[in-house]
Symmetry: C2
Subunit: 151 residues, 2 copies
């Protein structure tokens, strides 16, 4: 656990214009976390943080999230070695989202598939139909090898 305690959400005006971090966690105790690459600015992933994950991220400078599927705190890169080092954190107007600008260590992949970003497919819509077009790049690691041999 952490010693950091966040102030409760304030009224809308104060939350928008103030200088106090008062995260507006949702009914499940989560805020949305958006992660971009510090150098290129590219969107890498979207995840969620509870108060503990947010505090741990601030304290350690490494991205921590709350895994909704596993229902546990998650140090990003703990298994794959692709730790995210946080250069800057921002919050949005109503403080229900956190933006992390990071550099990724290890193989440099963010997605568990080994791709640099989780957003490796473009939605192409033509005449009422649409399909996903994959980026023409190779994964930076072998997902089966990284995850299946551990935990």
């Amino acid at each position: 656990m952490t010693d950091l305690v966040f102030a409760p959400p304030s009224d809308r005006k104060s939350a928008e214009s103030g200088t106090q971090l008062t995260p507006r966690f949702d009914a499940n105790g989560l805020v949305t976390a958006i992660v971009t690459d510090f150098a290129s600015g590219k969107l890498l992933m979207v995840a969620h943080m509870n108060a503990d994950a947010l505090a741990k991220t601030i304290e350690t400078g490494q991205s921590h999230f709350w895994s909704r599927s596993r229902q546990k705190l998650w140090l990003k890169g703990e298994t794959s070695g692709t730790i995210q080092h946080v250069h800057e954190m921002r919050t949005d107007c109503d403080q229900d989202a956190i933006w992390l600008k990071v550099s990724v260590s290890g193989a440099g992949a963010t997605c568990h598939t080994g791709m640099p970003s989780c957003f490796y497919r473009r939605i192409e819509a033509t005449d009422g139909t649409f399909e996903l077009i994959h980026d023409d790049i190779a994964p930076l690691f072998d997902s089966a090898e990284v995850y299946d041999n551990k935990s």
Copy 2:
């Protein structure tokens, strides 16, 4: 309403590696939408989409969201004139998030405060305390004037 109907979520492997758009809406029927500026790549806002908002965005090329606070479909910029024209859409590995690359018309502001981005404050953490540092830029419109005289 729209004629577009999305296929239900498929198994994890297909969702990750396939070419079919099968959005994984959460218990509230929503996916996360991340909006960046098409030209600069900067993060502008985070919002949510239900199936109707996603379909409308694909059909019209203008960002539509589901307003959780107002519980209604929301054409972004309808009041302020800051319509978002979508240049590219992407989805992530498990298809529970949508990334929109847009250009913003009108005053060019994305945030309802008149700021170019909703993320106009940096979290600065020093020695166990932290505060929000505002970007030193002026709003692109007067929020009170834009919203208080309408609807």
